[in-house]
Structure formats: structure tokens, C-alpha cells
């Protein structure tokens, strides 16, 4: 096995459970569209980072995504607009800003293509370590704060009546998603990242009867699709992110056909 494949394999083994975990609550909290918006804002962050000639524009993307996650939670808690609408406002503004900065002074859009498609085969050990740190952080967040995050998503008023600070929990979770999205974007690709945040849990939801099954199925789903997708892309010479997503989509179809309930 060539060195780059070993690295890619390691990266998939880290990214898949990370997104499998986050996916459970992204879907549970109706944040599918939000994670999509985050992906777009990450692109804007990279455009800004490139404009400022940062050595790794990824950090500008992470910072911007964190700011947006905070702003989004703040606005959502203070408006009667449906969260879909609020996300739409943020998403379109972020995309426009990104294209504005990317093309400022007549620049070409082409240099950003690698971010859109992503290339997991180019991942380096230092980045895998960083992604592993993110996975560890999310695992710790899950151990310490999963209950209030779940309660807030199931019934905000009930959670609040039991002393949960719903806004703070939402902010914590959206920030975790923001970091995971921006840091893994370069390898997974912006176009595919949202599918990794939605499909594993969407499939698991068709089958699961409780939170434990939901998590197990979502993580296994992501892991199996990650490995199968990586192998498929290696032998077929197609984009890894696209292959992983297609395998996930296939899993969703199976779970939909064999679903246990509505």
C-alpha cells in the first residue's frame, strides 16, 4: 500500500467516527441546512485567509465559522423567524462574501477548486493528528454535555424548565460542528462535507429505536462508507469524497427500504 493511501486510510478512520457522531445531533436538531451554510462560510474564510496571505487559510475559515455559529445561535434566540430562514440569510451572505473576496481585483475562482472537491489522498500526518484531536474533543463534549444537548433538541421549553441553558448548549454544539467542518474541509471537500453530516444519521434514524442504537448505527454507517468509499476511489480513480457520499447514499436507500417505522 502506498504511503499516501496509508495516510488517507488513517484520516478516514478519524473523520468517519467524528462525522458519524456529529451527524446524530445535526439531524436531531434540524441543523442539516446549517452545516451546509457553515461549509459555505468556511469557503469564505479561506478566501479571506488567502487574501490576507495567511500560511494556512484554514484557520481563518475556522475562526469565521466559529463567529458565524455564535451569531447564528444569538440571532435565532432573538427572532421569531424560522431557523431555516435565519440560516438562509447567513448562508447566502457568506457565499456572496466568499465569491466577492475570491474574485476581488479580477481574481480567478479556479485556485479554490481544491477546496470545493477536496483531496483526502494529500492528507499529511500532522493534519491527521489535528483531526484526531478534534475527534477527542467532540468525544469529550459528548461525554460531558450530550444529555443537555439532547434535551434541548427534544424539547427546548422542557429543557429550560430543568435548568438547561438551551442557548449555551446550542452554541457549544454548533461551534463543534463549525470546527469539524472547517478543519476537515480541505480533505473531504466542501461539496461533500454536508452529506457526511447528514447521511450517516439519516440512515440510522430509519432503523434506530433509541439513542444508543442511533449512535452505533450512525458511526458504523460513516465508518463503513468511509472505508468502502476510499477503496472505491482508489481503484476507480474518482474523488474520494464523492465515493464516500455515494456509498452513504446507498446505505440510506437500504435503511429506507428496511425501515422499522415512519
Amino acid at each position: 500500500m502506498p504511503e499516501f493511501m496509508k495516510n488517507a486510510l488513517l484520516a478516514v478512520l478519524v473523520i468517519s467516527p467524528l462525522f458519524g457522531l456529529l451527524s446524530t445531533m445535526v439531524v436531531q436538531s434540524d441543523l442539516s441546512f446549517f452545516s451546509d451554510a457553515l461549509g459555505h462560510s468556511a469557503f469564505t474564510g479561506i478566501a479571506i485567509g488567502v487574501l490576507c496571505r495567511l500560511a494556512s487559510p484554514m484557520w481563518a475559515a475556522a475562526a469565521l465559522a466559529l463567529i458565524l455559529a455564535g451569531l447564528f445561535t444569538w440571532v435565532k434566540g432573538r427572532t421569531r423567524l424560522h431557523s431555516d430562514t435565519v440560516i438562509g440569510v447567513f448562508s447566502s451572505t457568506a457565499v456572496a462574501l466568499g465569491i466577492f473576496f475570491a474574485t476581488l481585483g479580477g481574481g480567478s475562482f479556479a485556485k479554490f477548486n481544491s477546496y470545493l472537491i477536496g483531496d483526502i489522498l494529500s492528507v499529511e500526518p500532522a493534519m491527521i493528528a489535528l483531526l484526531a484531536a478534534v475527534l477527542l474533543a467532540v468525544a469529550l463534549l459528548w461525554l460531558s454535555s450530550f444529555n443537555p444537548i439532547l434535551l434541548s433538541s427534544v424539547h427546548p421549553a422542557l429543557a429550560a424548565s430543568r435548568g438547561v441553558r438551551v442557548g449555551a448548549q446550542e452554541w457549544l454544539f454548533t461551534s463543534a460542528v463549525a470546527l469539524a467542518v472547517t478543519l476537515s474541509m480541505t480533505w473531504v471537500g466542501l461539496l461533500v462535507i454536508n452529506s457526511l453530516l447528514v447521511l450517516p444519521a439519516a440512515g440510522a434514524r430509519n432503523m434506530a429505536s433509541n439513542v444508543r442504537q442511533y449512535h452505533l448505527l450512525s458511526v458504523l454507517n460513516a465508518l463503513a462508507a468511509g472505508l468502502a468509499g476510499l477503496l472505491a476511489s482508489y481503484y476507480l480513480g474518482a474523488s474520494t469524497g464523492a465515493c464516500i457520499t455515494l456509498v452513504l447514499a446507498l446505505f440510506f436507500v437500504f435503511s429506507f427500504v428496511g425501515r422499522r417505522h415512519g
Binding site: 444529555n147 439532547l150 424548565s161 440510522a204 430509519n206 429505536s209 433509541n210 439513542v211 444508543r212 415512519g262
Partner: protein, 253 residues
Amino acid sequence: MSENLHKHSGEGCKGACCLRVTDLGVSAEGRTILQGIDLHIHCGQIVALIGPNGAGKSTLFKAILGQQPHTGSIQFERSGGKRTRPLVGYVPQSPAFDQGEPVSVLDLFVAAISRWPVFLPIPKALRAKVEECLGRVHGEGLIDQRLGSLSGGELQRVLLALALEPLPHVLILDEPFSGVDVEGELRLLRLLDELRRTFDLSVLLSTHDFSNLGDYADKVVLMKETVLKVGTAQEVMDSPEFAQVFHLRLERG
């Protein structure tokens, strides 16, 4: 005996515990939502809060729950006269859950009453504890059901059981009869009656259904921004304040 225990004698709560709301006011964005609210609910009493939409019932609930900044005071007075902040159990309006919601009744309880992460296998002792909680509302069999698969009445019982853990001083139910059929309403009322006797709870509920207020409510409170009338169901519904608030034409002569 219980008559004596719950009898309201002047200012104090002699011999019984009570929830006392004094001169409560809430305003937001320069608008007055509640003002001069005085309420006095004895343990074991069921009090029905009525009033038109926008009368401030939900805001009052939020204030009692400690989620709404307010003026005035909300205190729980023990039989010895010691005053504390009340411990409140809250039963929200039954929400419609997504059919596919992968959250079971056990998951909801564990997330709400313990720090044990719900996504890990749940210890036997914790499961037994949840079964005990559900037993209070005769819902032991619901423990492994998904929230989305519960009927309206079952969901309400689950939320009620959750509100009783930890055992509160005051139980608040937000519109418990909306969307519930007559039979379901009677079943809930029987359960509330049983619970208030067993645990000596104060029960405060809001409702738009006046048909059998007199059968269960020890006291009815009519409010719109402030308390307009307090009394038995008959007293309140015969009052001019009631007619005015609900724009009823009084037949005269």
C-alpha cells in the same frame, strides 16, 4: 382533616405549606405584560388559571419557573413558616414528535434526571429508577417506546412523570387539556387528584376549557395582565370581570 389542613386562614399558611406570589410584575421592551399579581396556592390544591390568549399565563409560568426576570416575589412557604424558592415541576404542552425520533422514554428520562451519557449502555439501577418514576403515572410499560410512537395521552403521562422527578413543591401544567378528548381529560384529572393527595402537591394549570372547572378546581384565577378575579369556578364565571374579558353580553332584566 384534609379540609382543616388546606383551609386558607388570612395572611399566613398556618398548618400547611403554600406557594405565595406577591405583587409580581413583568415588563419587556417597554410593555407591561404582568403587574400586581398576587397568588396564594396551598399544597394539595388544584388551581386553574384562565384568561384570553395573550393574558400572560405563559409568562407567569415562566416567572414561577425562574426563567423570566420579574419584580415582586415568588416564595414557597413550608408549614413551619420557612420560606424558599419553590421547586417547580413543569409539564409543557404535549408537542408533536417526529415519528422517526430515535429517542425512547428511557432516553428522555436519563437525559433529564441524570448525568449518565444517554448514548452509552444504561446501568440497571438507573433504568429501575426511571421505571419507578413512570410508576407514579402508571406508565411502567412505556419505558422502551419511542417518543414519536406515543399517543397524546401517553406522552402527557410521560411528561408528567418527568415533572415529578425530583418531587416538586408545585406542579405546573400548560394547557393540559388542549387536543385531549373527554375521556383523556377525565383520566388526567383522576391522575392529578391521586398525585396531589399522595405527594401533597400544589397544582397550577392553565386551560381554555371551562366545561368542568367546577368539578376539579379548588380555586379558579381569572387573569389578564393582572389577577381580575379569584374564587370558585361558579363565582368566577358569574362575575362581571369574566363577562367583560370574554366579551359576553350580559342578559339584563
